[in-house]
């Protein structure tokens, strides 16, 4: 197994970031890039097989000895027990609940127990108290990319909303409180915004279409249930920028559930949380057999867990929802080929 050290892993990311920043000065806007890619016809480039793990949505509170602390700790221990050991871990946002620094510090302390390096993106719960200041200080850039064993990995902040607080003269705490509600009445739809779209276009410009791509966002890159921000408003633009690739695997947090969808070359997997499971919204699922069963409210670990994703040489992925209890239907118990 190709093991990489934390230093190498982070180093790679930093270099990629610097290169794209430099290129960005002369880069065309995202809109002018759209449609240039075309549909890839070549088979995906061979990669060196490896496994990575994913955790998300811990929703830690600034309360000592909170039950969600223990569930995240359990998920971290579970990831550490995976054999062969995942090369790295991705974290898909909402480490904290109310955006407090103490929540994020507590979360980092737990995540630092991972025996492999990890990369993380913010969720809305991490963000709207101080607009991501504490998060950035702890974790760095809100969007990034790196290459690993021939796969191009992308992480983006998909929870940006237009300013709804200034005119209403909301305090940071009031703003955060509104964003904490899944069904916030006045917060608006999330997206990555134009800046990140431009960054993404530049980032993948020189990545050849036969490169396997994995993109991680907090919210789904398709319209699932916009009412709960089970969407990203500029996902169509993201999908268009990534359309040139043979296959893109999208993984996202926020939904706290097993859910799957395919649009064009993108295959999307919703992830389990380590806090609480969410009911399926009142819409028809595209892949109704790729779900989890109802959780028992009396079992605080039901419907929660982590994930490992194993990639073979042909970029066939086996996505394994590592649910703590037994809520997966038989067809995906041993993983889903994506």
């Amino acid at each position: 197994m190709n093991k990489i050290s934390r230093r190498q892993f982070l180093g790679m990311t930093t270099k990629a970031g610097a290169a794209t920043m430099f290129a960005g000065i002369f880069a065309p806007s995202a809109s002018s890039m759209l449609g240039l890619g075309g549909v890839a016809e070549a088979a995906t480039k061979k990669i060196k097989p490896f496994t990575f793990a994913v955790l998300t949505d811990a929703h830690l509170y600034d309360i000592a000895d909170h039950k969600f602390d223990h569930i995240l700790e359990k998920a971290v221990a579970d990831v550490n027990s995976i054999k062969p050991r995942p090369d790295f871990v991705l974290y898909a946002g909402d480490l904290g609940q109310s955006g407090k620094k103490a929540e994020l510090v507590k979360g980092k302390k737990i995540l630092d127990k991972l025996k492999m390096p990890y990369k993380i993106i913010p969720g809305e719960h991490d963000y709207y108290l101080d607009m991501g200041k504490a998060w950035r200080k702890l974790f760095g850039d809100e969007h990034w990319s790196f290459n690993h064993n021939g796969v191009h990995f992308i992480g983006m902040n998909s929870i940006l909303v237009p300013d709804f607080w200034t005119l209403k003269k909301l305090t940071p705490k009031e703003r955060m409180h509104m964003m904490e509600e899944l069904e916030c009445h006045n917060c608006g739809a999330w997206g990555v915004g134009e800046k990140q779209l431009n960054w993404l276009a530049r980032d993948v410009r020189r990545v050849s279409p036969d490169t396997p791509v994995v993109i991680m966002t907090h919210s789904p890159l398709w319209d699932y249930y916009p009412r709960w921000n089970f969407q990203t408003y500029d996902a169509p633009e993201i999908r268009e920028i990534l359309r040139k690739f043979d296959k893109v695997i999208s993984i996202h947090g926020h939904v706290h559930q097993v859910v799957y969808n395919e649009i064009d070359n993108m295959r999307s997997c919703g992830l389990l949380s380590t806090s609480w499971p969410w009911p399926y919204p009142p819409v028809e699922l595209e892949y109704p057999h790729i779900i989890q069963r109802r959780a028992d409210p009396g079992d605080f670990e039901d419907g929660l867990g982590g994930h490992d994703i194993a990639l073979n040489a042909d970029f066939d992925a086996i996505v394994h929802w590592r649910e703590f209890s037994d809520l997966l239907p038989d067809n995906i118990k041993k993983g889903l080929k994506v």
Binding site: Y61, H185, R227, P279, P282, D296, P297, G298
Partner: protein, 159 residues
């Protein structure tokens, strides 16, 4: 205590009457002397309870560990209001939606339970029920049901 109960009874009665009226109005006018104004007032009274219930449903103050009902039950989803009363394992008996709400407050939220006929509890029941308006009553149906789809806003007329 007695006064509270009386108020609660009136609230319950108005919920029942208004729910009935909501369904009947689509078929026939209210029978005189109940005027359209009265029916509108009754509906407004229910919506006040729904709004109060909405606020409580989203409040962490009912619990002691930061959680609100809405953490797990956005828009009242998965409260499965149409299936109660039913045998519920964690209650250990045939119980009601109100008992389940209190169980959620006491166990996952680690809070203090509400009086079953308190204004707060009735408001929460009104909210959860209103988010499932039109869903067929199906006692003990072993299936999770989403709330009525909502495009935006609170999902009901508020103010």
């Amino acid at each position: 205590m007695r006064k509270v109960r009386k108020t609660s009874f009136t609230a319950v009665a108005s919920v029942i009457v208004v729910s009935g009226a909501l369904i009947i109005t689509s078929m026939a006018q209210a029978k005189p002397p109940r005027s359209e104004t009265q029916v509108a007032q009754e509906r407004a009274a229910l919506m006040t309870a729904v709004a109060k219930g909405d606020d409580l449903w989203h409040s962490a103050k009912l619990g002691n560990n930061g959680l609100a009902c809405a953490n797990c039950h956005p828009d009242g989803s998965a409260s499965n209001v149409h299936t109660w009363p039913k045998f519920q394992t964690n209650l250990g008996k045939v119980g009601t939606l109100r008992e389940m709400i209190n169980w959620c407050i006491a166990v996952p939220m680690q809070g203090r339970i509400l009086e079953s006929d308190s204004e707060e509890m009735i408001a929460m029941e009104a909210y959860a029920t209103f988010t499932h308006r039109g869903v067929a009553i199906a006692p003990a149906k072993d299936e999770q049901h989403g709330a009525v789809p909502v495009k935006s806003g609170p999902g009901y007329p508020r103010h």
